[in-house]
């Protein structure tokens, strides 16, 4: 065979002669598995490949995610709603992180039980603990990046926990936060740590961890079994485990998106909880309040860390050593499990917390629906502030429920009408039939309508009641203007005439009526504009005048808030235009 014919093996030899890569690979594959291959030894390889999955999915996310307080959340909505496989890639990053934490826990327990920390592997063990610390740092810096309401709440608490660490806390907090309060610089700091500093450290520590692992042989197993080469005897087990776990991550990712929720905004309700892996610390903090808080947030976690770091020297071998390692594993796992389950159970029973969670879920999907159409440069908050569906209930509960109920709810001691369906045919007809019902004027001082209903409506014939009903149906269309002279047949004209017959004595309409006594003007009654005027100043001459019981809100709410609230009460769902 001619020597200048290129062939795969020729290229391989050429490369190997210059780099030694093939020999290195062969050596790497053929290194023995001390104690023989086993299924329980797959955790290390699993961790490695999950980290690779996190790196790749993380880099892909960086193509779209934007670390800006006004853009972060919106960029993720865009990623998930508008970009092919965007939601899946973000979900992979999320689910692989969850898997990574679980497998890291298993890896730790496995190494504790096999007492893999003993001499000469002390530094291997400590580098592993540092890697676990890095994992926690990845979580702390990664979770707030969406700048969602939940993420903001979490990082706010976490920053103050860092700040409460004795001595170094306040300085560390400021450096991390990039100033005195959460904001754009915080996000930049967290992002830089998450995508540059921590990955670099991770690569360094993993490199050290792996090189020492190979140098020292794997953890101690019995030496008597024949030593099989790593590839393929351990590799096949690793491959199967990685395929199963990555497969599960993929299935979860196609089925469930990573959580997002509404964007961070001070007007939204908030009841943040840490992620499941930090719940144990959250629970621990409940038992140490006031000045002792640092015991839970810093001292106990610090002592556990110290105990683990010193374990190679605490375990002096023999039965005592075995006992120490087993006890450490059992106590850690049990304590973590119990402290995690307790707050979960408590939250499940806490109706108020569940209500906030449910409301945030609703606001979140609404916010995403709106933001999928684009977000103003000022950020998603502006979008929400203009949205009656989101802000209506929030404003109503902040400003109206000291008097008004809504569908029988929200007000503890209602003093005025129930405003659910206000201005609808059903609502007005209910009022006409029985204004004294607590849903209407029963709780107020307005007596004239009650009197009218008793004297006029109650004594009306069926035909007359049908006519009143027609006026009610007409009013529910928020009428404006009068029908032309020659129109007597249209529904509008019929309704107008019915109104003219039954209501005009007291209620004015388009500048007419109110001969008997002055009741609110019904031009455009129940429309967004009418309700807005009512909120601004109920004592307006065209509304309740001197008899108004409701205070004016013109100075308590912004013009935008009044429009949003009025639109919501009128049943509108479209965001208010700028």
């Amino acid at each position: 065979m001619a020597e200048n014919v290129p062939s795969a093996s020729g290229l391989k030899n050429w490369l190997n002669a210059r780099t030694g890569c093939c020999s290195a690979l062969r050596w790497w594959r053929n290194r023995p598995v001390p104690g023989g291959p086993a299924w329980w030894k797959v955790t290390g390889a699993l961790l490695l490949w999950l980290v690779v999955l996190e790196f790749v999915s993380g880099i892909l996310l960086m193509l779209v995610y934007t670390p800006s307080a006004t853009d972060a959340w919106a960029s993720l909505v865009y990623l998930e709603e508008r970009i092919a496989a965007g939601a899946v890639v973000r979900a992979i990053h999320f689910w692989a992180a969850q898997a990574l934490l679980v497998v890291a826990g298993l890896h730790l327990v496995r190494l504790l039980i096999t007492r893999a920390y003993r001499a000469p592997r002390e530094l291997l063990w400590i580098s592993g603990l540092l890697l676990a610390g890095l994992l926690v740092a990845f979580c702390v810096t990664g979770n707030p990046l969406p700048w969602s309401q939940k993420a903001y709440g979490q990082i706010e608490v976490e920053m103050h926990i860092i700040g409460s660490i004795p001595l170094v806390g306040p300085v560390a907090q400021r450096l991390l936060m990039g100033g005195t309060e959460l904001g754009q610089r915080t996000l930049n700091h967290l992002y830089t740590l998450h995508v540059a500093v921590l990955p670099l450290l991770l690569v360094l520590f993993v490199g050290f961890h792996l090189s020492q692992l190979v140098r020292l042989g794997r953890s101690n197993g019995s030496a008597d079994s024949e030593e099989l080469p790593y590839f393929p005897h351990q590799s096949i087990r690793n491959a199967v485990a990685v395929a199963v776990v990555v497969g599960a991550v993929l299935v979860l990712s196609y089925r469930y998106r990573a959580p997002l929720g509404p964007p961070a905004d001070p007007v939204l309700p908030s009841s943040p909880r840490p992620e499941w892996y930090f719940l144990a610390l959250f629970e621990l903090r409940r038992y140490f309040t006031g000045n002792l808080e640092f015991v839970a947030t810093a001292l106990i976690p610090g002592l556990i860390g110290l105990w683990l770091v010193l374990l190679p020297w605490i375990d002096r071998g023999g039965r005592a050593g075995k006992l120490i390692s087993y006890a450490t594993a059992v106590v850690l796992v049990l304590a973590h499990a119990v402290l995690t389950v307790l707050p979960v159970v408590r939250d499940a029973r806490d109706e108020q917390h569940q209500a906030v969670v449910a409301e945030l879920r609703k606001i979140g999907s609404r916010a995403i629906e709106l933001a999928a159409q684009g977000v103003p440069p000022a950020g998603p908050g502006e979008l929400l502030h203009r949205d009656p569906v989101t802000m209506g209930p929030i404003l109503f509960r902040q400003h109206c429920t000291s008097c008004h109920s809504y569908g029988g709810e929200w007000a503890e001691e209602p003093k005025a009408s129930d405003l659910k369906g206000f201005g609808s045919e059903e609502w007005i007809w209910g009022l006409v039939q029985n204004p004294a019902d607590p849903r209407f004027f029963g709780r107020t001082k307005h007596k004239q309508m009650i009197q009218w209903s008793k004297e006029t409506f109650a004594t009306a014939s069926d035909d007359e009641k049908a006519e009143i009903r027609q006026a009610v149906r007409w009013l529910a269309t928020h009428p404006r203007g009068v029908p032309p002279e020659d129109d007597e047949q249209s529904e509008f004209a019929q309704g107008y005439m019915a109104f003219d017959g039954w209501c005009i004595e007291c209620h004015t309409y388009e500048g007419d009526g109110g001969f008997n006594l002055k009741a609110p003007d019904f031009t455009g009654y129940g429309s967004e504009e009418w309700i807005a005027r009512m909120i601004q100043n109920p004592a307006d001459d065209a509304l309740y005048g001197d008899s108004a019981e409701m205070p004016a809100f013109a100075d308590k709410l912004t013009p935008l808030q009044i429009r949003v609230l009025a639109r919501w009460l009128a049943g509108g769902t479209d965001p208010v235009e700028p």
């Binding site: 919106a74 508008r82 965007g86 990685v242 977000v375 103003p376 440069p377």
Partner: protein, 186 residues
């Protein structure tokens, strides 16, 4: 086939399968820009007719809503157009206009108008066009004109508003660059 060979093959296959399955969504995200659409032609009110003097081209900004990924800017400059109004023929008829995109069809710089040469000149690589938007031939120019085609003409309409003022409205659009034929970016 011995056991070791079989296990090695199986390991490779499982590894490859897992990698491919995980790579598919990543590739789809990576290639997403290929399936994003350009903005379609849209009409914008550019200037009142009275602001366009006959005889010499005037440049106007096209302003409108710009959507940049997730961000919606209510009003931004989307691009520039050159408007050339021919000297009035004096018969009082409809004024005759030519409207061009100010984007040089070579590599996308914004072209200037040179009054001394009565022609459009691109500041980047010297693309040159007559004041009617045609590509100036190399012989006339004395050097190789890098522009592959003339300036891109844009459809327009003169619209009278409710106060009687006449406005120039332009169908603004972007075209593929550096091609002899004119192809809208879709």
């Amino acid at each position: 086939m011995n056991r070791r060979f079989f296990l090695a093959l199986l390991t490779r296959l499982i590894g490859l399968g897992t990698a491919v399955a995980a790579a598919i969504p990543g590739l789809r995200l990576l290639l997403d820009p290929l399936r994003q659409k350009g903005s379609a032609a849209k009409r914008y009110r550019v200037a009142p007719l009275e602001a366009i003097p006959p005889g010499t081209p005037v440049r106007f900004a096209v302003r409108g809503q710009r959507i940049d990924a997730w961000k919606v800017f209510p009003e931004q400059i989307l691009g520039y157009v050159w408007v050339f109004r021919a000297a009035e023929s004096g018969n009082g008829g409809e004024p005759h206009l030519r409207v061009f995109s100010a984007t040089c069809p070579h590599l996308g710089c914004t072209v200037d108008y040179r009054t001394d040469k009565s022609s459009f000149l691109c500041p980047c690589h010297g693309g040159a066009f007559t004041n009617t938007g045609d590509r100036i031939p190399d012989e006339t120019l004395g050097y190789k004109n890098p522009a592959p085609r003339g300036l891109d003409p844009l459809p327009y309409e003169l619209v009278r508003d409710e106060t009687g003022k006449v406005w120039l409205e332009v169908e603004f659009q972007r075209f593929e660059l550096n091609t002899p034929e004119r192809k809208p970016i879709a």
